[in-house]
Amino acid sequence: MSASLPSALQTLANYRIHNTRASHEVVEKGKVLLNSNGTSRLGDDAWAFLEQLALAAIDVANYEIADECLRRLATKFPESPRVDVLSGIRMEATQPPEVALKFYNELLQTDSSNAAIYKRRISVLLRMGKIERAVTELSEYLDTFYSDVEGWVELAELYSSCNQYTSATQALSHALLLAPQNPFYVLQFAETAYTADDVPLAMKMFMLALDIMDRNVSEESIPTGVSVRAWYGVKLCCRALTERTCSSASDTPLPQNLDLLDELSTERVLTAYSVVGKDFDSSRELVLSWMGPSDRTGGRPRFIH
């Protein structure tokens, strides 16, 4: 076993860096390390490893290992806010959410600056189904810790889940400000705006996402991944705009050259499905029939699930 120990350590460190949630594997590898007293050889990395193992063990409901890790961490770092969060998560795993909430509230009373605990409390509230309170708490949290992009995206998703699409786009606009280079947020904004029936705005945002994504891509290349989705979005918006008069809650002007854009997006989506392969044939048929002018009256697919 000792021969593969370095490689196991390497894998675990890799998971830590990339935030991979491979809990089963982590527990399997970590168990060996924990039993063989390999932690003493890790030096300062040992504590990060113990935290990782504790989280993974809670994930797969292996509470013995989690408690062992927690015990070691707590003796090394008494009163550490990070260990507090970890023991809170451990508490959430087996005890009723009210107990965990109370624990978090007590922690926040002594130290009101611990962002991680606010987030845990919000997640407990969500699990209890108290979305309204979670949204309020999340907005308050973001009012203080503004630069938390994931918090804003979460807020947008919460709003979307309550059909509050306009509020969702507002939350997403903060995420866009914080991470203007991330096309996924732009795409999400576009899809939310589309669902909120602000088609001109959605169209602009779809194109903006494409503008960001395809910046380093030549025009002959085949669109892949999210850019296919964005081209679909442009196509959908074009169709909606030519079929009916769309109002825009945000007063976004209609794009010029709508017919050219329609043509371009059709072309790009078809290019995406031009790859020859046995898996693609059936989907290409579907896309072609959807793109065809005969099916103009098809219902609007919704993006938000």
């Binding site: 130290d111 009012d143 630069s147 194109m207 503008d211 371009l264």
Partner: protein, 271 residues
Amino acid sequence: MSSSAVSLYLDPQIRDWVLFPITLVMILVGVLRHYVVLLLQSSPKKLPRAAIREQRALARSQILRATSANSPIPPSYYRSISNRLSAAFEAGTYLKDGPPQGDGPSAPPNPMTDPAAMDGMMAGMKTQMVMMVPQMVIMGWINFFFQGFVLIKLPFPLTLGFKSMLQRGIETPDMDVRWVSSLSWYFLNFFGLNGLYRLILGNDNSAVDTSQAMMASPFAAGTNQPGQPQDYVKLFKAEKDNLAFAEGLYSWMGDDVETRLLRKYGKLRSV
């Protein structure tokens, strides 16, 4: 010239009992100082939530302004965020102690009355003391015991301009510049040991940091401590103006995005 240089002989005892001890003491004191500073450093104090909010409110509008010339968000959204922020700055919503009551003169807070600011100042003072006191003691020690000693002869010739640097404490007009006096040796060590500290203590050690701060200006360190209390009322007022400027610069990236896309894919002739 060379005959006069040879005419001076240094007792090897000077090397063993003065030159080496001075160097050794200075190195050890540097190492010691590093650890004393580590001991004295109190863990950064935790701010209450309201204080964090106050501190980060400025960052919010800076983030908004940073992209205003090529903003990723549409005009109506930009304007609503911008207006809301400037209204909040105006009303003082983000201030730690809530909006200011009445129209009393907004005097800058006195650092002596705020215990948090006092702590910050004390920490700075302590670090400075740790840095100054040993240097003064060593200098006194050298001045008292080894005043006027010639310690070492540099292996290369130098011009006369270096005389004041290398022979401090010895008032001789004729001695060769290559001879180094004890006090000058102290200064050479004082400024020259940083590299050694970096080797011994690692890159971010306080022995180097403090002596570099001292090199820049011995007394300037006290003027801009990080713990200095800031007058957020004034900062917010200024930020409000900045927001107004940024709104003037604002343009949406989406304004001509369709033209950009169409040009890229050759549907529109580029002009």
